[in-house]
């Protein structure tokens, strides 16, 4: 159930991280050039931002409910260790809500530089908020800062647990770049569709060019950051890395299989084998030893095919997006203008939904890859779950409610796109 809520919440988080900065960039263009196109665009995007933020507030609140509702043993045992992160996140959320109110309702009402300034805290708090949540997730993957004693966490040092955690930094950067990637491609895909339908005026061209540029530059960066993350996973969660690849036995000069399916006997069928690549990528040494799934007993292994599938989806889409980004930059330099080719625009239109798929796949990778642990090596997921009955009923209700919310959101955004600006 929490998985569902996260899947609903994460794309909104991306918009929370990246959209305020993009809107502010457009407003800054307006302030510098005085060109009303930028103001119209920034103002319209502000409305979208507010709508998405409102839905994000809800799903975020629900998540904090669910932490208690679904995982009482998890919060009960470790709340003291990681709760601080959420407390600070709550404050960030709060500041974000305050300034989003000022910014959204301050258009044409506050002096313009003050209005611009009121947007800056939104960008900062969007960052700190996600920073805190990722700090908690980093801790779940690499728990430190406490000692387990008779099933209770003692000698708790929350600061060390959350911030002096070697697992935290790559997750943060990876997520943060993903925010810009997803926001950029999703927004760009909307305007790519508009362009394919013949809306080639300057307003629509600007609305396509800005997010596309940001996403196109962020996509290759994400490949590098992702590679860095995988190297950290290799040293800190070798079992997870083994599941990414489906590496059954500890192997010297381990290969990578592209696609394929992991068999219970430890072979990978229907995959394209690239020798020595895993060792090279993970340890920068083609003959390095990579720990396999056999390093831990069977009951401590994650569901290999689920993790592999999610991982390969993320990497595959990520690579395609990076290629698209490179193509865009090359075309821009050779032609000196926005690419017009329908194939290119079609690819951008697809990139939006695909980037969301990659985002969710990436999150499945890290969460499923950590199974069966909720706190890596310390607490099993099955031990953390609530004893209250009625979970399926609640789950069904939540599915219906979220579907309704997303339909409502889609409807509202369509309406907003058409609504004239100015006035109320």
């Amino acid at each position: 159930m929490q998985a569902l809520s996260f899947a609903v919440h994460i794309p909104l988080v991306c918009f929370g991280i990246a959209f305020p900065a993009i809107v502010l960039y457009v407003e800054w263009l307006w302030l510098r050039t005085g060109d009303p196109v930028y103001r119209t665009l920034a103002e319209r995007w502000t409305r979208v931002m507010v709508t998405l933020f409102a839905v994000g507030v809800i799903t975020g609140t629900i998540l904090s409910f669910e932490m208690g509702l679904l995982w009482p043993a998890f919060t009960g045992t470790f709340g003291g260790v990681f709760g601080l992160g959420f407390a600070i996140e709550g404050f960030s959320f709060f500041m974000e809500a305050i300034f989003i109110g000022i910014y959204a309702y301050g258009w044409r009402r506050l002096p313009r530089w003050w209005h611009f300034a009121s947007g800056i805290p939104i960008v900062i708090t969007g960052f700190t908020g996600s920073l805190m949540v990722i700090a908690v997730n980093g801790w779940m993957n690499h728990p430190t800062g406490f000692v387990m004693h008779n099933g209770r966490a003692t000698h708790v040092d929350p600061l060390q647990a959350l911030f002096v955690n070697p697992y935290f930094w790559h997750e943060l950067v990876h997520m943060y770049v993903a925010g810009y990637l997803v926001t950029g491609f999703v927004v760009a895909s909307v305007y790519a569709v508009a362009r394919l339908r013949g809306k080639t005026d300057r307003y629509h061209a600007t609305a396509l060019a800005i997010p596309l540029t940001i996403a196109a530059l962020a996509a290759p960066v994400q490949v590098l950051v992702g590679d860095w993350s995988a190297r950290d996973v290799a040293t800190m969660q070798p079992t997870k890395l083994a599941a990414f690849e489906g590496l059954a036995r500890t192997t010297r000069a381990a290969p990578v299989h592209v696609l394929g399916w992991y068999q219970p006997d430890g072979r990978i069928v229907w995959g394209v084998k690239i020798p020595k690549l895993l060792s090279t990528l993970a340890f920068h040494d083609p003959n390095a030893v990579v720990r396999g799934l056999d390093a831990v007993p069977a009951r401590d292994r994650p569901p290999v095919n689920g993790v592999r599938l999610a991982f390969q989806t993320m990497v595959g889409i990520g690579t395609l997006l990076a290629l698209l980004g490179v193509v865009f930059v090359i075309l821009r330099w050779r032609r000196g203008q926005l690419p017009e080719h329908p194939m290119f625009l079609g690819a951008v239109a697809l990139a939006g939904p695909l980037s969301v798929v990659a985002l969710i796949a990436g999150w499945v990778t890290t969460e499923l890859g950590r199974q069966p642990w909720v706190v890596y090596g310390v607490m099993r997921t099955s031990a953390a779950v609530t004893g209250a009955g009625g979970i399926p009923v609640g789950y069904g209700a939540l599915v219906v409610v979220y579907l309704g919310t997303y339909l409502g959101l889609a409807w509202t955004l369509r309406r907003l796109a058409r609504a004239p600006l100015g006035g109320h």
Partner: protein, 404 residues
């Protein structure tokens, strides 16, 4: 005060602010639901919506604050509460989803009929949510929540006389607070007709809520002995008295058309009763768990206190700014529109930015991918950040759009 009580004080303060601010939000939904039909009803609905629109998100984060501080500082207590009281909390969660969703959707609803539908969903969930949260509080206050994972009764822990009474009281208080604020807002904007409409609602809600509060004392007498005994026969009776006086004073102020004062008197009544509850339940947090048993380790408590105080230093000035702008009418419609800046042509600096982007990219790959040391990775990330920024300048999307 002992260290392990501080976070509880923060939680109760957060609860008061949630009732006072978030409650008013729920109440606005209540009035939207019962506005009826016709032009007058539309005016009521619009006024209720517009007054709350800039602040409702901030008002509701108080709940997140209460939850996160509780689970950090008293993890075991929150786990027990959340699992035993799963049903009302789930109802509240659903209500919150619908409220937020309809709030977001109202911006898109242009036709009256659509707005009516959106407002109705909003109104129903605005009643359901405070009722469910109040019922959950009733479960805690009548000590029906034992320690442990879902070890209390999932239904009777909240669906009982105390829970239902406090739930109804929560709805009543919300409606009352909202009516007072909306009257004051209407007066500030000089809408005389709306002032009268909401003044009548405030008086009606005030009388009904006052009666419900008095009736709840009888309920507590029979259903929650410990709370009743300690609340009314011990020292916390002073808090109850303060609350009663403040409540009556608010009513008198509304009757005497002193709405601005009423706006500040009403929270006193709420704060006093929450403080009284806290004092009466002391030292218990749950039926079989004292506050000090529930508290997390010393270092966590210190970290929470530092975080709350530090956060508060940032938060309260921001919140004050928001409310000053809202109450000052700076964010209302028709406030002054500013002049557009003058149009200037700026030359783009793409060549320089292009070179910088290439340099940053090379540095980033070298430091993040080739190098092994953690400090190099940090620099590498910074370089890649520089690459994206320089790259955006170099690509010059705005210029690109102008030329196409």
């Amino acid at each position: 005060m002992h260290l392990d009580v501080w976070p509880l004080a923060f939680v109760l303060a957060g609860l008061v602010l949630y009732v006072v601010l978030g409650g008013a939000d729920f109440g606005a939904g209540f009035w939207q639901l019962f506005a009826g039909r016709g032009a007058k009803a539309d005016a009521i609905r619009d006024h209720a919506h517009d007054s709350m629109a800039p602040v409702w998100e901030a008002n509701h984060v108080w709940l997140v604050f209460v939850l996160t501080v509780t689970w950090t500082a008293y993890p075991e207590a929150l786990a027990s509460i959340a699992s035993t009281l799963a049903v009302p909390l789930f109802i509240a969660a659903i209500g919150i989803i619908f409220r937020g969703a309809t709030y977001a959707m109202r911006g898109g609803a242009t036709a009256r009929r659509e707005q009516l539908l959106v407002d109705s969903v909003f109104g129903v969930s605005s009643i359901l949510t405070p009722f469910a949260l109040g019922a959950a509080v009733g479960g805690i206050a009548s000590l029906r929540v034992p320690t442990g994972n879902a070890s209390g009764d999932l239904l009777t822990s909240w669906f009982n006389a105390t829970g239902i009474t406090i739930g109804i009281l929560a709805v009543g208080v919300s409606a009352y607070l909202a009516a007072i604020y909306l009257t004051a807002d209407a007066q500030r904007h000089g809408q005389a007709e709306l002032v009268e409409l909401f003044r009548r609602r405030a008086l009606g809600a005030g009388v009904v809520t006052g009666a419900a509060a008095a009736a709840s004392i009888v309920v507590l007498r029979f259903d929650a002995h410990r709370l009743f005994d300690r609340l009314l026969l011990g020292s916390p009776v002073a808090a109850v008295a303060v609350s009663a006086v403040a409540g009556l004073a608010t009513l008198a102020l509304v009757a005497g058309r002193r709405y601005e004062l009423a706006r500040y008197a009403a929270p006193v009544a709420v704060a006093a009763i929450v403080v009284g509850w806290g004092l009466a339940q002391r030292p218990l947090m749950l039926r079989d768990l004292t506050v000090s048993q529930a508290a997390a380790s010393r270092s966590t408590l210190i970290a929470v206190i530092v975080a709350v105080v530090g956060g508060g230093v940032l938060l309260f000035p921001s919140l004050a700014l928001l409310f000053r702008l809202v109450l000052g009418g700076r964010l209302a419609h028709g406030a002054v529109a500013e002049e557009a800046p003058e149009r200037v042509e700026r030359p783009s600096r793409t060549t320089l930015a292009f070179r910088a982007a290439v340099a940053f990219a090379i540095a980033g790959v070298g430091l993040l991918t080739v190098a092994e040391a953690p400090w190099a990775h940090g620099l590498g990330v910074a370089a890649l950040f520089g690459f994206v920024v320089a790259g955006v300048v170099a690509v010059d999307p705005a210029g690109l759009a102008r030329r196409s």
